[in-house]
Each structure stands twice: as C-alpha cells, then as structure tokens.
C-alpha cells in the first residue's frame, strides 16, 4: 500500500489526500464525521484525490454555517489545483456535496458514484419528546442553563449531533434539512448508485426513488444493491466501490 499524503489546497482551507503520481481522475468525498482516510483502500493505486471536507479530518471548520452547496463551492474554488474533469464518488454527506458540485459545474464532472447519500426530502424524523421541547423553549428564554441544556442535548440528540462541536452542529442541522430535487433534475451525466441493501441510515428505497428521478431527467443511471452491507461501504466493501469506479471509467471514456 502506497502512502497517500495530505496536501494543503485553497491556502490551507482544504486539505486533500492525493493518491498516485498522475493528476487525479477520481475525487472521493467522505461522509459526516468521517475523513479522507476512509477511501485509502478504495483508491489505492489509482490516480485520485480525497479532500477532508471542512470541519473534518485535518481541514479547519467553515467560519459560518454552510450547507452542502457551500461545500461544493469551496471545492470548485480549489479544483484547478486538482485538474478536473473527474469522476466524483460521494459517500453519505459527501454524496450531497457531489450532487451540488455536479449540478453547479457539469463541466468539471464526468460522472457520479453515490453511496448512502440522502438526496431526496421526505425523511420523517421523530419529533422530540414534549418534555424536551419544553426544556428547549425554557433554554431559549434563559430559564434553563446552558450547561443543563447541553447535558440534555447530549442525552436526546442523534449521535452525530452529540459529537458535533461549535459551528459544525449548526452545519449538521442545516444539511439534514436540505433536499436536492432541483440539483438531481439538472443532472445529465452518468450516475451509479451503489447501496448497501441493509443501509439503516439511508434505506435503499430512497436510492430507488433517486434512481427514478434521475432516469426522468435523462441521466444514464445504474443502481446496484449490495446484499449484507449497511451504510458504510467505503470501509466495509471497498472492492465494490473500486469496481464501480472502473465501470464508470469505461463508460465515460479516458
């Protein structure tokens, strides 16, 4: 296994891991709370780049509350240093960013591989318990101390929410409430959806919905459901993602 060292892009605002000696033909975007190291096995031996998205790994957090589209804009700002166009692979949150990137700048992207990426709205999250909502209300009015509120947040929030710190907590709230219908409708490039059939976080039904929507907008699209796998394909089934990359490279030419 060859080392994939980090290189600072965008004046140090974006750290990226470079694989291979040639200019990268593939860019991989990691999930929430993850980092570029997730793709070491997927991208080993390829000419590829995997940034640490701001707020994760070695990249500093954004200075304000970003959505997925802001992440895409930042990558576009640094992309000259990565020599596009590229095949873009997005896992989970990275898939949201990948779709925004492709919708904004189709000239930079030859194709998309998405895995475990929540793209369409309509996720119904359970509403917090009444007592918790009441305490939140009390906190906003200064009746509940910050310390106590934080303790309760840690008890009641999702695990991503509990571990997020500072601005990243607001970024999380922003992105989980986003939906990317308009971006999906704007796409006209090949898309390969590779999903864990047992993905509990973004169930495969949602991949099927995205598949239908992408076909309607005229994309060449494949959906592969991988049995016995959950949400984290980059670490659990890197071989499947490698296959998907090779397939897409054949489909999209050199």
């Amino acid at each position: 296994m060859r080392a994939a060292p980090l290189r600072a892009l965008a004046g140090g605002a974006l750290m990226a891991r470079f694989f291979g000696d040639r200019p990268p033909g593939v860019m991989a975007l990691h999930g929430w709370g993850r980092e570029s190291a997730d793709f070491i096995e997927v991208l080993d031996g390829m000419a590829a780049v995997a940034p640490d998205l701001p707020g994760f790994g070695s990249s500093p957090p954004p200075d304000r509350v970003w959505g997925a589209d802001d992440y895409a804009l930042q990558i576009i700002g640094a992309i000259d240093e990565m020599r596009p166009p590229m095949l873009v692979l997005g896992h989970s949150f990275g898939g949201r960013v990948a779709v925004c990137l492709a919708a904004r700048r189709p000239d930079l992207v030859t194709g998309l591989i998405l895995t475990g990426a929540p793209l369409l709205g309509g996720v119904r999250r359970s509403r917090p318990r009444r007592a918790y909502r009441l305490i939140r209300w009390g906190h906003r009015r200064g009746l509940v101390s910050d310390e106590r509120m934080e303790m309760l947040r840690r008890r009641h929030g999702s695990s991503d929410y509990r571990t997020a710190r500072g601005v990243m907590r607001d970024v999380l709230v922003k992105v989980v409430n986003e939906s990317y219908e308009s971006q999906l409708d704007a796409l006209s490039l090949p898309v390969h959806l590779v999903w864990g059939a047992q993905d509990a976080e973004v169930p495969v039904e949602r991949a099927r919905q995205a598949y239908g929507r992408l076909r309607e907008s005229g994309c060449e699209v494949w959906l592969r459901e991988v049995d016995g796998v959950g949400h984290d394909l980059p670490l659990s089934r890197p071989d499947v993602l490698r296959e998907a990359i090779l397939l897409m490279q054949e489909a999209t030419g050199p």
């Binding site: 296994m1 060292p5 980090l6 290189r7 750290m15 070491i40 500093p60 890197p238």
Partner: protein, 356 residues
C-alpha cells in the same frame, strides 16, 4: 487491607480507551473503588460493575460528585467525608491524566498512585523533547522537528506529522510538503499544543515492548503489529479499541526477529525506562526500516496497561497491578525541604532594603 481506587476517563481524546482500561483494572482488583474523571473535568465516584455502554452518554447514572482537594490531608471528598485510599491506579490515557497534570495534583494532595510521577510523565508525552533526550543518550531516533513557520526541516518529504503531545495515533497524518504541515498545524485540533514531523519511512515495521523497573528491571516479549491493508499508519482503532485483552488488528507476539535485534530492543527499552524514570509498566515503541532500528516513542500509561505483552515472562494482569501498587506505596513523593531551616529568614533584613 490496602484501600485502592482505579482512576479513569479524563478530558482527553483517549477518554474512551481509558474507561476500558479502568474498568478492566477494577475487575482485577475486587473491592476497589472507581473514580471517574469526566470529559468536562469533574470527578465522580461510580458504582462498581459498570460496563462500557454506561459511559456512552457521559457521566453514568448513580455517579456521585467528588471534589479533589490539592492540599495535605486533602484528596477526594464527598461533601465533608474524605475518601481514604492507600493508592490510586492511574488508568488515564493521553491529555492531563498522562502528561503529569493530574500526577502533580495528586502529589500536592499527598496521594500515592501507580505509573510515573509528574516529571517523567511530561517527558514521556512530549515527543520532541523525548526524541532529543533519547538521541542525547546515544540511542538512534528519526530526525524529529518542531513544525514552525520560522524554520524548515532539513530532510525530504513526505513527512509523518504528529501532535507534539499525545500518546496515541490520534491526529497523525502523512503530509506531502512543509506548507501542508504548517496548514495542518494551524487547523487540526490535535495539533493545538504543537506538532512535530519526521521522515515517512515506506514499509517501516512497528516493534513494541513493555518494560517495568519494579520489583526488578524486566522487559516483556516484543510485539510486531501487522499493518492492515487499509491504513498506512497504525490507527487508533487498531491500536486500542478492542474490548478484549489486546488491541485490535493482527499482531505477532513474540515478533520474529534476529537475536541481535531482539537484544538491542531489550537493552534500549531498559535504557529508555531509566532515562525517563518510569514507574509501573511503560511501552516503548521502535521502528525498524531497512535493517535500521529507531526508538520511536514511549507510552508511560499504555492501553490495557500492555498486559497482553507479558507472555514471556508470563505475568498476569493481577500480578502486574499488585506490583504497580506496591511500587507506588514504596515510593510516595515527599517534597524536599532540607535546608529550609529558617536561618536565612532569621538573619534577613527588611524586604524594603532588598527592593533598593
């Protein structure tokens, strides 16, 4: 009967591993209390027999708040009641539980504890000073430099970059050039207390050995962790996050090494233990590359107390802990006041005269 408490947790990136080490130790020491230092720095007495998931959401239920009084006759207090302990078993990893901070406070409170005291702990945690001390003692180390905009390294990239202070693989990255190192030093929370770089050696092997100096100087078998295909450096996950006896990841114990290399590692591990002034069990990590051997780092409070390394000579976890406790009781820190006999005070003039 000796009154013992295991102390674990702590405001450190390695909090979770410390909880694991602490709960393991408490099971081996029946009747011991459990002192939990929370992520926010508060102390608690927690009920015996808890499991790891009980800590997943922060302070476990039924934990009782304690105060730590850093004065003679102080120590741990629950309200007005003082908790009496003969010795504390230090199971912290990383941060203020390993770098000497808590050791200094325990010294001030007059508490005995396992593992090294404040000075050796700081030395063991500071990768830059540690490497310099090892090199000054005539042992081989890799070139290790502080990452600072005021100087550049005199060796070629890629570099392996580590937090200057820290006992695990957390935060370690490989960087392509010095500008990236400077940028990572600014952005990574793990590098907030400084960062060091050294040459990245493709295909280097990590060799680890445990050492102790009580009841006699002794080294364990040597371990060679087999790097998984997924990672180019041994990850935190591989090193520590196993629930069993040993860290996760494939390993070879004892490592398959030429006799001469084995002897060198054993000798140098003992020399490093003396140099740092360890107590309890430390783990000394070496790098082997192209037939060369380098002292890499020392971990003065290793995960699981490195119990899995003691297969030759075989030492049970209970035996190791009992020896560590006996060593702590035999060497309490006593502040030296010899010479402060008041003579200089009696004959001293007015302070105002000294200000002239």
């Amino acid at each position: 009967m000796t009154r013992i408490a295991t102390a674990f947790g702590g405001p450190s990136p390695e909090h979770d591993v410390s909880v694991s080490t602490g709960l393991q130790a408490s099971r081996v020491l029946p009747g011991s209390d459990c002192l939990y230092w929370s992520l926010t720095g508060d102390w608690y007495l927690i009920p015996p027999g808890l499991e790891l998931p009980d800590f997943a959401d922060g302070v476990p239920r039924k934990a009782r708040r304690l105060e730590l009084v850093a004065a003679p006759g102080g120590g741990y207090r629950m309200g007005r009641k003082r908790l009496e302990y003969d010795a504390l078993v230090n199971c912290f990893h990383g941060g203020p539980g390993e770098d000497g901070t808590v050791q200094g406070i325990w010294d001030m409170a007059g508490l005995c504890y396992t593992g090294p005291g404040q000075g050796p702990s700081s030395l063991g945690m500071d990768k830059l000073i540690f490497a310099a001390a090892v090199r000054a003692a005539g042992m081989p180390t890799l070139e290790r430099r502080l990452v600072t905009p005021r100087s550049a390294p005199d060796f070629d990239p890629p570099y392996i970059m580590k937090p200057r202070s820290g006992g695990s693989s957390i935060g370690i990255v490989i960087v392509d050039d010095y500008d990236t190192a400077l940028a990572v030093a600014k952005s990574s929370p793990h590098m907030a207390e400084g960062a060091v770089i050294e040459p990245y050696l493709e295909g280097a092997a990590d060799l680890q050995i445990a050492v102790r100096r009580y009841p006699a100087v002794e080294v364990s078998a040597i371990e060679e962790p087999v790097r998984s295909d997924r990672r180019e450096i041994l990850t935190y996950q591989e090193k520590y996050l196993a629930w069993g006896d040993a860290p996760a990841g494939d390993r070879r114990i004892p490592a398959d090494l030429p006799d001469s290399m084995e002897t060198t590692i054993q000798t140098q591990a003992m020399a490093v233990a003396d140099l740092v002034g360890i107590r309890g069990v430390s783990r000394v990590d070496f790098l082997s590359h192209d037939g060369n051997l380098y002292v890499n780092e020392i971990n003065t409070l290793p995960g699981s107390l490195a119990a899995y390394l003691w297969i030759d000579p075989p030492r049970s976890r209970a035996e190791l802990l009992e020896d560590m406790i006996a060593e702590a009781l035999a060497h309490p820190r006593v502040f030296n006041t010899v010479g402060a006999d008041g003579a200089a005070l009696k004959g001293g003039g007015a302070i105002a005269a000294k200000l002239l």
